[in-house]
Amino acid sequence: MTKKIQHPPLAMSRRALLMASGAGLAASVLPFGPLSAQPAGTLAMCVTPEPNAMCSAFNTASPVTVVSGKMLEGLLNYDFDVSPIPALATAWEVAEDGLSITFTLRDGVTWHDGEPFTSADVQYTIMEILKVHHPRGRSTLASVTAVETPDPLTAIFRLSQPAPALMYALAGWESPMLPKHVYEGTDVLQNPANNAPVGTGPFVFQTWERGSHIVMAANPNYWGEGEPKLERLVIRIITDPSARAAALDAGELHLAGDGPIPVNQVQRFIDSPDFQVETRGTEMNNSLDMIHTNMRNEHLAKLEVRQALMYAMNRDLMLDVVYYGLAEILDSPIPETLPNFHTSDVPQYDYDPDRANALLDEAGYERDADGMRFGLRLIAPTVGDTYERMGQFLKQNFRDIGIDLELISADIPTFIRSVFGEYDYDLTLYPGSVTADPTIGSQRFWWSEAASPGTPFVNSTGYASEEMDAVLEAAAVEPDPEARRELFVRFQQIAMTDLPILPVARPIYVTIAAANVENFVPGPDGIRAPYGSLAFTG
């Protein structure tokens, strides 16, 4: 890898060329200060896989949220502590009883087509779009009964019960505000604006060459002071992880996120002066690798077996061998990145194969002639190569305690059908997001009522605990932050005692940018940020 990235980026030099050829003209029409105040430069970033749509109101697949979040905005943004900060709403107030939230909207915001953004758009988007068509919206917005619009800049959410988690689900990439005048009276699911959004965001949709790239241009009427800083944002679709690394090396790509390259190449990029590697930017997502057991299995129904599996995992070694150091070991199902909820005051399961063996002996499992007690199947989706390595690693760990692990890898629809449709698995390993609030992200895995055959990424373990259900249900509607934290502490303690799910690690998905790119992880949502401040330095 000797070829270094060449900067400044192409569009900058194009611009410079244009300026040079018409220098006299430019000087005469641009008398008001330096050129740097104007949006400048074309930046290329990539998403994987290719998004299926440009609007995340109807499809919240990861690449869709990345693209959508640049053009469509939400009521709120979030800082690194995952506290709400203004976006389309400049102020908000949750009523004492938690039964209404009043949003004051930003004045003077216009849609990309020039129409003004008002509270009627908020009302329409929440009630007619997100509550009806958003994959998660029906549950996160379940308690919203009405949105009142006393004036164009005030929107009042009326709730049937307090919904503290709601305040964490209003980012643009998650709950985008859509223009009522474009959607009303149309077949919203096939509205052309779903592939060519009309939003309020810093970037305006230009073209989408399917399979190749998406082009967005700076929104000249954007409300953010001095934003956007880029003239154009190009989102490339590069399907192969090694090809993404090569494109970064060759300077054809300036920015890539969500763990874009093979993990064994990340260190090279960290060491290179030509690149910046950022590990923050997943605090809104908090994707965790956890092993979900199937408690319908006669062996796994026994607590001792689940505890033994936990003790059998050498997770310190796993950190190096499986994750190349890019992960944090979990001691509870809520990661440390959510300090408002996380606790370590739970039963701990440090690597202790002797203890694991003792537990299995006690449970009455004899080793056979081959030294095996019984066999289990581990099914994982084919996403990246981490889960393949993890399977091999666990196979060795579990062999040490006499459990013969059979590895099955399946494409995503097959995996979903086996695990969540037919419950035809023993152990499964997949990434599951806690999001910014455990009520949104965690509850579904532990709450007995979330279990629903055929629904992906919910409770598949067969776990049902009255105490757990009561704690989760109380936390979902507890308006007081301190009392709510206590409930989630209790949740983590029950979870680590009952162990229907074995928390393994929080993988760190890096964002890689060329050395001359700034503000590429401006907040906890990483590359999902609106990117008004994204720019080339110098």
């Binding site: 890898m1 000797t2 070829k3 980026p9 192409l10 569009a11 194009r14 074309t42 290329a44 896989p49 290719e50 299926n52 749509a53 499809n59 919240t60 697949a61 990861s62 994959p135 998660r136 029906r138 549950s139 699911l189 096939q190 779903n194 592939n195 060459e209 399917r210 399979g211 190749s212 790239h213 082009v215 190009v234 490339r236 679709i237 590069i238 399907t239 192969d240 090694s242 090809a243 090569a246 494109a247 090396d249 060759a250 054809e252 399946a410 995503i412 629809p413 097959t414 995996f415 979903i416 059908r417 086996s418 997001s433 579904r444 629903s452 055929g454 629904t455 992906p456 990424f457 919910v458």
Partner: protein, 330 residues
Amino acid sequence: MKPIRRRFPWAFLGKRLVYGALAMLAIAIINFFLLKLAPGDAAEALAGQAGTADPEYIAQLRAQFGLDQPLLSQLWAFLTRLATLDLGYSHVFNERVSTLILSRLPATLMLMGAAILIAVIGGIVFGVTAARYANRWPDRAISFVALLLYGTPPYWIGLMMILIFAVWLGWTPTSGMENVLAFHTGWDRVVDIAHHLILPALAQSIFYLAIYIRLVRAGMLEVLSLDFIRVARAKGISERRLAYRHALRNAVLPLVTVVGTNIGNFLGGAVLTETVFSWPGVGRLMFDAMFQRDLNLLLSILVLSSLFVIVANLIVDLLYAIINPTVELK
């Protein structure tokens, strides 16, 4: 000698077209059931991508996609759409199926055309050279390299080519079909796309290049030992003219046959090449459709591909008659 005169083979063409239509119908029906065997459907795949979804949402998607209909009426709906040349709307990709396929087809045809051209021309040039210098060093070198190329996985060759020619030497771009940061138009764009085409076309052609070299070499060796070549040589015709003008024409028929049968393989190989080089073609669309269980889109691509292969083979058969007038079309 009297030249062979013949009329246009209408009967042959008609028969082949009827067979082709029947084959396509069979392909559509068999694939429909084959794909239905894959676990999971588009609603689950879409809900899975979304991260979370409730049961009503999935039921709503199924109804919207028509997946709640009985299997046979889904098949009937697909066949009638096919018969009326209306491929329908892909709810997974939010676009009309015909628009999706047609927007990706040129990229794949370009890649395939370039790869076949490289493989055929390279195969002929190197194959003839190897035959002319049979068992001497040029033949040994060419045969050795051909064997090496034949045995190396195209996927790996693609990645190595990116590493060497794009990253180390900087001669070509790493991936994509055009420089998306430059916004070229007109001739600049054509040149830019051709520049991007070099590596993927080479990567895709290499395996076939290896086969064609061996095929042409073997054919040439056989023909070069025939009497009419000895006569031609005795008449003082130059060796080069002898090889390309007299021998090749006879030796090339097996190559044409193999190229014809390989056209389907080129289309299949496009999936890998397009993935490695981020080439925005139909191969990757097919791959994405499979993983998202967009059956209607996938079936439409498969049927169109079969149409393409059938037509290509028909053209190859007609070509025989032109290359070698003694071949009779029945």
